[in-house]
Every structure is written in C-alpha cells, then in structure tokens.
C-alpha cells in the first residue's frame, strides 16, 4: 500500500547523492596520490642547493614532473568536489540553493584547474 511516507518513483527524494563506494574510494585514491606527490616534491626541495627561480622552475620543467603535477591537479579538483558536495549536502537543505552552490563549486574548480594547467604547460 502506498502511503504518504513513500519516497520512491515520482516522490523520490532528490538529494544528489549516489550513496555508493565510488565517491568514498575516489576521495581516498586521490588523497593517496596527492600525499605521494607532496613527498616527491618535498624531497626535491630539500635536496640540492639554495632554492631560487632557476632551481624552482627546473623542478617543474622536467617532463615526468609535469606528468605527475597534471595528475595531481586533476586529483585535487576531483577530491575537492567530493568534499565540497558533502558540505553542501550536510548543511544546505533547499534544493535550488544546493544546486546553485554545487554548480558554483564546479565552475570554481574547473576554472582553477585550467589556470594551473596553463601555468604548467607554458613553462
């Protein structure tokens, strides 16, 4: 018997969540990648002579380092998206406002990602 408490079909609650393993796992995998990258960068920073422009730019102009940095930029955006979406889902109840903030989050992250990639590849 259908009652007023049923939340399936046309009365399904729109919460924007997948309730699945995917976001949990992607947040942890991207976190592990960023942690690893941090260690790799720190090792390069502390090993070697005094840090100035030449050595700083040389670190990022290595092809493998560009590869790694690009992966981490994408990982960061993905990681931040999962985290920010969690925040909006926890605290923002009106669907129109939550959707607006989620769209703004994506715009913010995609814009910053594009800028960071541009910095990396024109080096």
């Amino acid at each position: 018997m259908a009652s007023s408490n049923d939340t399936f079909g046309s009365k399904r609650l729109v919460v924007g969540a997948h309730y699945g393993l995917r976001d949990w796992l992607s947040q942890r995998v991207t976190a592990a990648l960023m942690t690893l990258y941090t260690l790799v960068l720190v090792v390069q920073l502390i090993a070697g002579p005094k840090l100035g422009y030449v050595r700083w730019a040389a670190i990022f102009s290595q092809q493998w380092m560009r590869f790694a940095t690009f992966v981490v930029i994408v990982a960061l955006a993905w990681h931040a998206w999962v985290g920010l979406r969690d925040i909006w889902m926890d605290y923002i109840k009106p669907v129109w406002l939550r959707l607006t903030l989620q769209v703004a989050t994506i715009v913010w992250l995609v814009g910053c990602t594009g800028w960071a990639v541009q910095v990396l590849w024109r080096l």
Partner: protein, 142 residues
Amino acid sequence: MADDHKPRPVYTNIHVSQIVAYRLPPAGVVSILHRISGALMFLLLPLVVWLLDVSLTSEVSYERFSSAFVAGIGIVPAFLLKLVMLALIWAFLHHLIAGVRHLWMDATHSVSLQQGRISALITLGSSIALTVVLGAKLFGLY
C-alpha cells in the same frame, strides 16, 4: 500489537547555537577541523594557483612573487599575506595528517575509542608543531 512499541527516538542535527554547549572529544575536533581546513583551501585555491603562476612563469614574475612577501602586493600588505599563508600551511598540514589518519584507520581497522583518541591528539599536535616550524621560517625567525 503495534501499541506495545515505544515511540522511536528522533535525532536531529544540533543547532548552531548549541555547539558551544557540546564538549567534543579530540577525534571530533580533528573531524570538524578537517572539514574547515578543506573548505579554507578550496576558497583560497585561486591564491595558490596565482602563487604557482608568478613563481614559475619567469624570473621577472618570480621577483614579484618574492617581493609580495616583503613589500606586499597591491593593497595587501606583506604581513597580511604571510598570515593567510600561515593559515594555508596549517590547513594543508592538518588536512594531510588527518587524511593519513583516516587511511590508516581504514587499512588497519584501528577504530577503538583509545586508538581514535590517541591518533586524534597526535594529529592535532603534529600539525600545530609543523605549522610553528614552517611559520617561523615564513616570518623570517631563522
């Protein structure tokens, strides 16, 4: 038969005004700071990309990057920029260490109250200690 059931308890989110009355355990403090530090880094992301931009693009822009921490940049005095960087450094360290704590708990099922308490205190202590060390460098104390 249904009348035998007690009314089911209802749990609601605490209201902002109730927060001060709650005594959070260390693990709770780490948890909310994990969220706050993440949100802070998200909001300051354009600043980080800008720093990457000016520090990497050319020697001339690198000079602008260095002088921002000495003479300020635009209407932002150097001291304020350093304070924001200090907040970013703490946010990064706390978020990183609290995240590693999560991975460690997931991997080893270290989820007893005692383990949670000790690892939370280690997280808070080590992130603040490292922030002090790097902050002293930022403000030119060594």
